[in-house]
């Protein structure tokens, strides 16, 4: 790592003060940023540590029942939080499924959303891929086993790496973004940037903006959710396919749903065609399988990742069943 100055902010004002330097970079848990710096892909002249800012680390409920999560809350804290486990199960499951215990103790939810893709060409200083300023995507015609099956026709075929993003999209989260004394609230779906819009970035944050909190809307008792991550090995691994499902139930009928895929596209990928299949129907294994088939209609696999289509189909139908509390393997 190249030398850098180190700002240890005591509060948000301090963080913004230290961020005035144009080559400064925010550091939360540092798990992604230090990796990029060790590889020589990032060389900020200053890091601004926001994990020392107490006002960014909290989980609290407001009077309307919305749950607010501070951006530097760790994944371990989210996974262990009893109200998140019961009211927003998919998020607790997603946080718990990320990486290893050691990483979850340090990695923050804000950093997890803002981490950069894990494509091997992008992550290596030996390649100059499109996302790193090169002239074409090396994975598109190269080694693309773990790459996108949706949204992969605009130059770059990475998949979005964040597991918590998948759950937060399905749970309709809002994000609060602050810049000096101003702050704005956006829906998480408006946070992501596709390769078509700008291939060099994955989200809309500007250099001096800080993601300060995540807001989860109050849920009804009749809302249920589930997140599942399919890996190649049993112990910790990156997903080859992950899915979050949120169902609004009226008795046995599903009145509305959100189905979001991770490791599928350059941004977390919502599948409205599958949601339509579930609308106003009673969830069954057969219906869940129909929804999964609908989800894959527009899939466009690359040369090495067609295997992802049946994997996603299986994972989607099972996750719908688990969200609805039915056994996906019942005959």
């Amino acid at each position: 790592m190249k030398k850098f100055e180190y700002g240890m902010a005591k509060n948000l004002a301090g963080a913004f003060e230290f961020l005035k330097e144009s080559e400064a970079k925010i550091k939360a848990g540092g798990i992604d940023l230090l990796d990029l710096m060790k590889e020589g892909l990032e060389s900020p002249t200053r890091l601004v540590n926001i994990r020392t800012v107490p006002e960014l680390s909290f989980i609290k409920k407001d009077e309307k029942g919305n749950l607010h999560i501070g951006a530097t809350t760790t994944l371990a804290e989210i996974a262990a939080h009893s109200e998140i486990q019961t009211r927003y199960r998919a998020l607790a499951q997603a946080a718990k499924a990320v990486a290893t215990p050691q990483i979850r103790n340090v990695a923050t939810v804000g950093g997890n959303l803002c981490q950069r893709p894990r494509c091997w060409y992008f992550r290596s200083a030996d390649f100059n891929c499109l996302r790193n300023g090169g002239d074409h995507c090396l994975a598109d015609e190269g080694e693309n086993k773990y790459h996108a099956i949706f949204g992969n026709q605009d130059g770059c075929v990475v998949v979005h790496p964040s597991g918590t993003a998948v759950a937060l999209m399905a749970l309709d989260a809002k994000l609060v973004i602050a810049r000096k004394k101003e702050s704005r609230e956006i829906h998480i779906a408006d946070f992501w940037v596709t390769p078509e819009d700008d291939v060099t970035r994955e989200n809309i944050l500007k250099h001096d903006e800080i993601l300060t909190e995540i807001i989860l809307p109050a849920t009804e008792k009749s809302t249920t959710s589930y997140y599942f991550k399919q890996k190649e090995k049993q112990s910790f691994d990156w997903p080859i396919a992950d899915v979050a499902v949120v169902l609004e139930m009226n008795g046995k009928k599903c009145t509305a749903s959100k189905i979001v895929l991770g490791s599928a596209a350059p941004v977390p990928w919502r599948i409205e065609k599958a949601e339509q299949v579930l609308k106003d129907k009673q969830i069954s294994v057969t219906l869940a399988r129909q929804a999964a088939a609908a989800a894959m209609v527009d899939a466009n696999p690359l040369s090495q990742n067609a295997y992802k289509v049946p994997v996603f189909s299986a994972v989607i139908y099972r996750t719908i069943c688990w969200a609805a509390g039915i056994d996906p393997f019942a005959a």
Binding site: M1, K2, K3, F4, E5, Y6, G7, M8, A9, K10, N11, A13, G14, A15, E17, F18, G30, I31, L34, D35, K38, L47, N49, R51, T52, A76, A99, T100, P101, Q102, I103, N105, V106, S235, F236
Partner: protein, 210 residues
């Protein structure tokens, strides 16, 4: 063959230098713990004082780390990781460095009661935190029950993953004194063993909790 328990870890050769001691000597002489006047360097610690936080310059500063209950002063640059400072500057070479990317767990230490990858932790972020490393487990020349259990159950082959494995296991036992095999598996999920000794590791951890 000697039981590993009876072997001294720092065997000396005929020339009277232990291999470990030789390796350590190489790494440390040029860096060492700072000798410059303390007040001068501490003054440099804060480049520009601000009520909203501290800004460290790019160059080395003296910091105090609390490792295994001892306060240790060491000169570090903000870019130094805790793993390299423990090993190269504080001579605590029990903590290993494998991948240096947060993926293998060889560098696992306990910081303020949770396990972390010290290769992905900046030393300056460890100021004021209680750090526990493998060296802190032995008391008065006696290995801890957990370490004994690893020996008893053959919980290692080459031993490279072992310090990290044991720190993850210690953290588990500190919180859950009688873990199941599944809990032992989950707690060490971030520790890779290239020799594949996992079943013996899980056995050793469960037995240490009995």
């Amino acid at each position: 063959m000697d039981h590993p328990k009876n072997k001294k870890t720092n065997e000396t050769n005929p020339k009277g230098i232990s291999r470990r001691g030789f390796l350590k000597g190489l790494g440390v002489t040029s860096i060492g713990v700072a000798a410059a006047p303390k007040s001068e360097l501490l003054a440099k610690l804060e480049k520009t004082p601000s009520p909203n936080g501290k800004l460290l310059g790019k160059d080395a500063v003296i910091i105090t780390l609390e490792v295994n209950g001892k306060s240790l002063q060491v000169e570090v640059e903000p870019r130094f990781t805790l793993a390299e400072v423990l090993r190269d500057h504080l001579n605590l070479t029990g903590t290993k460095i494998g991948c240096e990317r947060g993926a293998c767990g060889a560098c696992t230490v306990i910081m303020n009661g949770v396990t972390v990858n010290s290769c992905m932790t900046l030393a300056v972020d460890a100021i004021g935190q209680k750090i526990e490393t493998i060296e802190g487990l032995e008391k008065d020349g006696h290995l801890s029950k957990l370490q004994e259990s690893f020996i008893e159950h053959d919980g290692m082959q080459c031993g490279f993953c072992t310090p990290g494995m044991i720190m993850s296991a210690k953290d588990l036992l500190d919180k859950n004194p009688h873990p199941t095999r599944e809990e032992a598996q989950e707690a060490t999920a971030g520790n890779l063993c290239r020799c594949g000794t996992y079943p013996k590791v899980f056995e050793a951890i469960v037995a240490a909790g009995k």
